[in-house]
C-alpha cells in the first residue's frame, strides 16, 4: 500500500503513513543537493548526475503524452530540438538570454504541436506515430540544410562567456545540478497533479478506451491535443536546459530517432504513466549508458550504448511492460498476500 502510494500509482497520497512518504521523497533530493559537498565527488560524477537529471525531465515530459495520454509520439525529439535550437540561436544571434529564449522555444513548440496534433490526432494511433517519426526525420534534414541559421550538420555551439547567471553558463557542472533538480521536482509535481486532476483522469480514460470516454462525455480530440501540447512544451523547456548544459547541439542530437529513443527510455524503463517511473528509469538508463560507454571504449568500439538501448527496449516491452515501478509494486503486492 505504502509503496504503491509513493510510486504515484494510487491517486490520493493521504492514506497510510504520510511522514514516511515525505521522507522517502526528500531523501534523494537532499542527497543530490549536497552532492558537490561530498569529499569523493568530482566534476565527472556531477556531470553524470546532471545528465541523468536532464534525461529524467525529458522522460517525465514524454511520460505525460505516452504514459498518461497513451499517444504514440515516437518523434518527440522534434520538441527537444526546437527548444535547443530556439534557445541557442536567439542567444548566439541576438544576445537574448536563455531565460527568455526558452519560453520562445516553448511557444514555437506549442504552435508545432498544435498544427501536428490538429492534423493527425483525429486518426488512429498508428498514423499519429508515423507522422511524428516522419516529422522528426524531416527536421533533421531541414536543420542540416539551413546552415546560416542552425550551423548545418556540424551543429550550433553557444558562445561561451564564462560563469554568468545572465547567460546561464558555468565552467563547472554544479549549478546545473540544482537547475535540473528543480526542474525534475516541478515536473514531478505536474505529473502528480495530472494523475489526480480531472484533466489527467480524462486523458487516462481516453488512453484506456476512446469510445467509452467519448460516451462518458470526454472531449476526446481536445483532451489528446491538450495533452500533446503540454508534453511538447515541457520537452521543449527541458531542451533549453539541455542546450545550456551541453553548450552545443547538432541535428542528430536534437531531432534524431536515437535521441527520441533516449528520451523515451526513462519512462519506459521506470514505468509508463507513473510519477516515479521516469525518475527511476532515467537513473538506471544513464547508469547503463555510462557503463557501456566505458566498457566499449575499453574494447575500442563505438555506439555500444545504442545496442544496449535497443536490447533494453525489447526486454522491457516483452518482459516487463510496466517497467521497474510495475515490478516493485507487483512484488510488494505478492508479499502482502
Amino acid at each position: 500500500m505504502n509503496t504503491a502510494n509513493a510510486m504515484g500509482l494510487k491517486a490520493p497520497p493521504d492514506a497510510g503513513a504520510p511522514m514516511r512518504t515525505i521522507i522517502f521523497m526528500l531523501l534523494p533530493v537532499a542527497l543530490i543537493a549536497i552532492l558537490p559537498l561530498l569529499p569523493f565527488v568530482n566534476n565527472f560524477i556531477i556531470a553524470v548526475v546532471v545528465r541523468a537529471l536532464i534525461f529524467i525531465t525529458l522522460g517525465q515530459a514524454w511520460n505525460i503524452v505516452a504514459g498518461i495520454g497513451g499517444l504514440l509520439s515516437l518523434g518527440h525529439g522534434v520538441f527537444l530540438g526546437l527548444g535547443c535550437y530556439t534557445t541557442g540561436i536567439l542567444y548566439n544571434k541576438y544576445g537574448i538570454p536563455p531565460w527568455i529564449g526558452v519560453w520562445v522555444g516553448c511557444l514555437i513548440s506549442l504552435m508545432f504541436a498544435l498544427v501536428m496534433g490538429a492534423m493527425t490526432l483525429r486518426m488512429r494511433g498508428v498514423f499519429f506515430a508515423l507522422a511524428t517519426v516522419a516529422m522528426s526525420l524531416a527536421m533533421v534534414q531541414l536543420s542540416r540544410h539551413f546552415v546560416d541559421l542552425t550551423g548545418g550538420a556540424d551543429g550550433l555551439a553557444l558562445k561561451f562567456q564564462g560563469n554568468s547567471l545572465w547567460a546561464l553558463q558555468s565552467r563547472t557542472p554544479a549549478p546545473f545540478l540544482y537547475a535540473a533538480l528543480v526542474l525534475v521536482i516541478i515536473y514531478y509535481a505536474i505529473t502528480r497533479w495530472l494523475l489526480q486532476s480531472k484533466f489527467g483522469l480524462e486523458m487516462m480514460a481516453v488512453r484506456d478506451d476512446e469510445t467509452a470516454a467519448a460516451a462518458a462525455g470526454v472531449a476526446v480530440f481536445r483532451t489528446k491535443l491538450l495533452g500533446f501540447i503540454v508534453s511538447a512544451m515541457m520537452t521543449s523547456f527541458a531542451g533549453g536546459l539541455y542546450v545550456q548544459y551541453y553548450m552545443a547541439i547538432d541535428p542528430e542530437a536534437a531531432f534524431g530517432l536515437g535521441q527520441a529513443i533516449q528520451l523515451q527510455l526513462p519512462a519506459l524503463m521506470g514505468g509508463l504513466g507513473t510519477a516515479w517511473g521516469p525518475i527511476i528509469g532515467g537513473a538506471v538508463m544513464i547508469f547503463l549508458s555510462e557503463v557501456t560507454n566505458w566498457g566499449s571504449s575499453k574494447i575500442g568500439v563505438e555506439g555500444g550504448d545504442i545496442l544496449v538501448y535497443g536490447i533494453a527496449l525489447l526486454v522491457i516491452v516483452l518482459r516487463a511492460p510496466k517497467g521497474i515501478v510495475g515490478l516493485i509494486v507487483s512484488r510488494s503486492m505478492e508479499r502482502k498476500r
Binding site: 492534423m119 483525429r122 507522422a131 517519426v133 516522419a134 524531416a138 534534414q141 523515451q264 535497443g310
Partner: protein, 309 residues
C-alpha cells in the same frame, strides 16, 4: 524558402528556354518514375506486414539495409554481380525476418500498439548496431554490370542501373500480387488479413500463415535492398534514412494495399525529382513530408487502402 532564388536568371524566358525547361521537367518525371518504382518495392513489404498482421515494422529499413550489404558482400568479396544473388538476398532477409517475428512480433499480431512500435524500434536499433559492428560506419558501394552506365533515349539521359532496378521492382510487385490473388496460400493470407477468426474456422492455420507472410515481407525488403545497392551506397544508418520515404509511400498508396503502395512509391519519386530540379536537391524530401501530413489529415487510407478506419 530561404534557398530559393539565385538559381534561375530573372526575366522572361525565350522560346528555346521554355522548351529546355519542358524537357528538364520530363526528364525529372522519368527519373522520378524509375526511382519511385524502387521506393515502391522498398515499401511493399511494410504494407504487406501491416495489411496481414497489423504490424508496423520500423525495422523494415534495417532489413533493406541487410539486403544492400548482401549485395556489397557479393560484389566486393566474391566478385559476383549483386543482381545474380537476388534470390539469396531474398532468402537471407526472409530468415532474419522470421527470427524477428519469432522473438518479437509474434506477441503483437492484431493491433499496432505503443509496445509493438517500440519493440520494432528496439529491433531496428539492434539490427543497425550488428551491421555497424560487422561493417563499420563507412558507406559501401556495390558494382553491377549496369552501374555507372547510361542510356540516351531521344533527349533523355537515364541510368541503366535505375532502369534495371525499376523493371525488377515492377516484376517483384506483380509477382506478389499474383501470389496473393491466385494461389491457395495467397488466398489464405488474405483470409487471415480479413478476419483471423473466420479464417481459423475454415481451417487456415493463422500462425503459419503469419510467419510466412512476415518472411515474404522481409524477403521483399532484402530483394529491394540488393537492387537499390547497385546505384546507391549503403551504411549502417541507411535503414533509418530510408524509413521516411517508405512510410510516406505506404501512407500515400494505402497501408495494406500492395499495388497502391507501389504507386505511392512512384508518386514519391516524381515529387522528389521535380522538387530537386525546380527548387533544391537538398530539400527534395520536404514536399513529401507536407504531402504525408495532408494525407494523414484528409485521406488516411491513402489512394487504395480500404481497411484503415
Amino acid at each position: 524558402m530561404a534557398a530559393r532564388g539565385g538559381e534561375r536568371p530573372p526575366g522572361r524566358y525565350s522560346k528555346g528556354m521554355t522548351e529546355a525547361a519542358f524537357y528538364l521537367a520530363l526528364q525529372a518525371i522519368l527519373s522520378g518514375i524509375l526511382v519511385g518504382g524502387v521506393y515502391g518495392i522498398l515499401s511493399v513489404g511494410l504494407s504487406l506486414a501491416f495489411g496481414v498482421m497489423r504490424i508496423v515494422n520500423f525495422a523494415h529499413g534495417e532489413l533493406v539495409m541487410y539486403g544492400m550489404y548482401a549485395g556489397v558482400v557479393a560484389s566486393r568479396n566474391f566478385g559476383i554481380d549483386p543482381l545474380l544473388i537476388l534470390p539469396l538476398a531474398f532468402l537471407f532477409t526472409a530468415l532474419v525476418g522470421m527470427v524477428q517475428y519469432q522473438i518479437v512480433f509474434r506477441h503483437f499480431v492484431g493491433h499496432a500498439t505503443l509496445n509493438q512500435l517500440l519493440a520494432a524500434i528496439g529491433c531496428a536499433l539492434v539490427l543497425q548496431m550488428i551491421a555497424h559492428l560487422i561493417f563499420g560506419a563507412d558507406a559501401r558501394t556495390a558494382v553491377s554490370m549496369f552501374t555507372g552506365q547510361y542510356t540516351v533515349i531521344g533527349p533523355f539521359f537515364l541510368s541503366q542501373a535505375q532502369i534495371v532496378a525499376f523493371i525488377i521492382a515492377v516484376l517483384a510487385t506483380l509477382g506478389v500480387e499474383v501470389l496473393l490473388r491466385t494461389t491457395t496460400w495467397g488466398k489464405a493470407v488474405r483470409a487471415v488479413a480479413d478476419d483471423i477468426e473466420a479464417a481459423e474456422i475454415v481451417g487456415v492455420n493463422s500462425s503459419t500463415i503469419n510467419i510466412l507472410a512476415f518472411a515474404l515481407a522481409a524477403g521483399l525488403a532484402g530483394l529491394a535492398g540488393t537492387v537499390l545497392v547497385t546505384y546507391f551506397p549503403t551504411s549502417p544508418s541507411t535503414g533509418f534514412q530510408l524509413m521516411p520515404i517508405i512510410i510516406i509511400a505506404t501512407t500515400i498508396g494505402g497501408l495494406g494495399s500492395i499495388g497502391g503502395t507501389f504507386l505511392g512509391g512512384i508518386c514519391c519519386g516524381i515529387v522528389q525529382q521535380l522538387t530537386a530540379m525546380m527548387w533544391n536537391s537538398a530539400l527534395q524530401d520536404v514536399p513529401l513530408y507536407i504531402l504525408l501530413m495532408l494525407f494523414i489529415a484528409f485521406r488516411p487510407t491513402g489512394f487504395f487502402g480500404t481497411r484503415a478506419e
